[in-house]
Symmetry: C2
Subunit: 423 residues, 2 copies
Amino acid sequence: MSILLKSTENYGNVYIEGGTIAEVGCAAYDADTIIDASNKALVPGFVNMHTHAAMTLFRGYADDLPLQTWLQDHIWPLEAKLTEEDVYWGTKLACLEMIRSGTTAFNDMYWHALASARAVEDMGVRAAISNVFIDVAGESDDGSDEAVRKKNRKLTGQLNKDYSDRIIPALGPHAIYTVSEESLRWIAEFAREQSGDMLIHIHVSETEQEVNDCIKRTGMRPVEYLDHIGFLGPNVVAAHCVWLDDREIALLARHDVKVAHNPVSNMKLAVGTTMRYPELRAAGVNISLGTDGCASNNNLDMLETAKFASLAQKAAANAPTVLTADESFAMVTRNGADALRIGSGAGSISEGSAADLLLINLLLPEMTPFHNLNSNLIYSAHGSCVDTTICDGVVLMHNRVVPGETEILRRASEVTYDLVNRE
Amino acid sequence: MSILLKSTENYGNVYIEGGTIAEVGCAAYDADTIIDASNKALVPGFVNMHTHAAMTLFRGYADDLPLQTWLQDHIWPLEAKLTEEDVYWGTKLACLEMIRSGTTAFNDMYWHALASARAVEDMGVRAAISNVFIDVAGESDDGSDEAVRKKNRKLTGQLNKDYSDRIIPALGPHAIYTVSEESLRWIAEFAREQSGDMLIHIHVSETEQEVNDCIKRTGMRPVEYLDHIGFLGPNVVAAHCVWLDDREIALLARHDVKVAHNPVSNMKLAVGTTMRYPELRAAGVNISLGTDGCASNNNLDMLETAKFASLAQKAAANAPTVLTADESFAMVTRNGADALRIGSGAGSISEGSAADLLLINLLLPEMTPFHNLNSNLIYSAHGSCVDTTICDGVVLMHNRVVPGETEILRRASEVTYDLVNRE
């Protein structure tokens, strides 16, 4: 399978073969598929580094509530009733939204992870898939640590074996307050034993209470505690990292931990402060962006998230020069692609890198005039500027049409209706 | 001219006659135009309460810079070269973007205001049009206060006489630091003399420096100073109002001043704090939303602005319950419509009110599932969810097509290219 993107505004002709960019700025080869890319800019696909995809089903179900009311009275009771079928259609809805807004890869953590993997496989995008791992306070499926471990071993085996390379198996220990120290140590060790040092996706220091509780329990702050138990490494994606002190930032940098920042969710749930981006960046940490789940955002639009990230940092630093459009653009493209290890050069337009690509429609008011592409993308446009989405060398959307979208909207609405009315 | 919106999801059939909603939830009358509104929700058109429309031409021209560098080295030199033709096409580009994102009315302040009025007239939306009024520090056109006054008298006369009712004449004293006390008094008096107590559009307390300079100069804070010189009244739209103390909030409430909040611009330019929404609301002030100009936002999407408003307030108050989706929705619809005096019931779906209306496409992932319309609009969707835009009973966009849009994009790009290369 080959694709020729003909006459892109910024790279001329681009030739894709298999799942890879074969040539940039080339002559007009013949190809299996030829796409007229005039008046369109070519950019790497966006990478959403922290989400719970199937939570699209809860979009708008409960907003503007105190955190504990929201979780305990609304979200958790629904989650307790979720079936594999729900998760499958919720994740398909998420993938549809992502394809339409230019996200070609995401880092997921949710229940019924095999259903998520199946949805990702069917939709053609790329995702690191982890099942939520919880074993504290009797919240594990059957109460036994060993059973949860066995389940995770089996699951990651299945994710490796039964799916294409677009599915990246990962481990999803929920957080330090929901997973025992013993299990965290087991997960870190298990991940290292896997070929390629398996990705671990964990929530870290989202709220001040998590920090205070950790200090009370262990005498250490969360990142220090994770360092102390040998958990940290380049395979760890730490979502949130809102409440960090200088020592923790140094630890994240030293262990090359990947930080997934979720500015929209952090503001909507009012976690109390703004992530220390300038200090994390100065320390050389790989910082990427995530939307978080649709119950706390409520969308999956990475360009919106990038704008929130830039503007929240400018406001927090009281300086309009902080987190520029170019930095935000890198955060939603190559920083995420590097963290998910999509391959050398991924997240950039370069020969040999993964063909996870977008064509941006420049004939839109929000893209006009064309002084600066990254500025228009980050500060002006939303995901609806994406005309064509390509993942792994396959066209998933062209002219804003994703095959089968009406059916996905219908089925997702149906399972949601059933879920909220289920006894 | 009559329009039947057939089978809207939330109001059934809605009948529009002339510029007015004639009947809501009615039988399926015959009409000049019948629009199938199944799978669509009907909402009032959005009102953008503070912008400089033609600044679309500067979108992405200079970002991520310190405020003074941005203004003095980039924006002002370009503005000095602006022609009527530039402003006409810049405003048309703005109107196109607004129509596509559901804004049917806006409150503008800019140079060459008659060109803006002509663009608004041609595009079919509604706008309060004011010319920037500056007379301090030799920045008035010809150095003479009287000449500026004469020009404003003539301009408001023309705006009243030569245009349709969709053009609302207004006065645009830039700010207390760019307009002399004498001129501010003159403007307040002149506005009161006009039939209907003419609207005044002014920047108030956007930066801390403005407050400090005002105290140094007058011994009073800006709102106190404006009260002291008899400037405040229900016809005043005060943009920004970021830096207010309790006494100023009470003064704004007492004089029924309309406050136009610009959360995106405030964060992007890093004005240093968050507008005191909870206190202003508690005082009963009419608070609406604006995008500000595209040089400091960089778009005109009111749904994005509403999300920023809600989330910034939640973050500032450290409480996810602050500025709910319903409040944000009111701010972008009826609060703005009331402030612009579009008529009784404007900004709501009610018989007898102005037919400034939107059909929202519900068959989109960001609108699915349909737990809560306002939540999906404010927290999940962007302006691209608008399928049909109607202003003053005339369909300006249907199925996301605005007649003549390619020509507007082309001409706006051309005048921009010419402007930045002009000697």
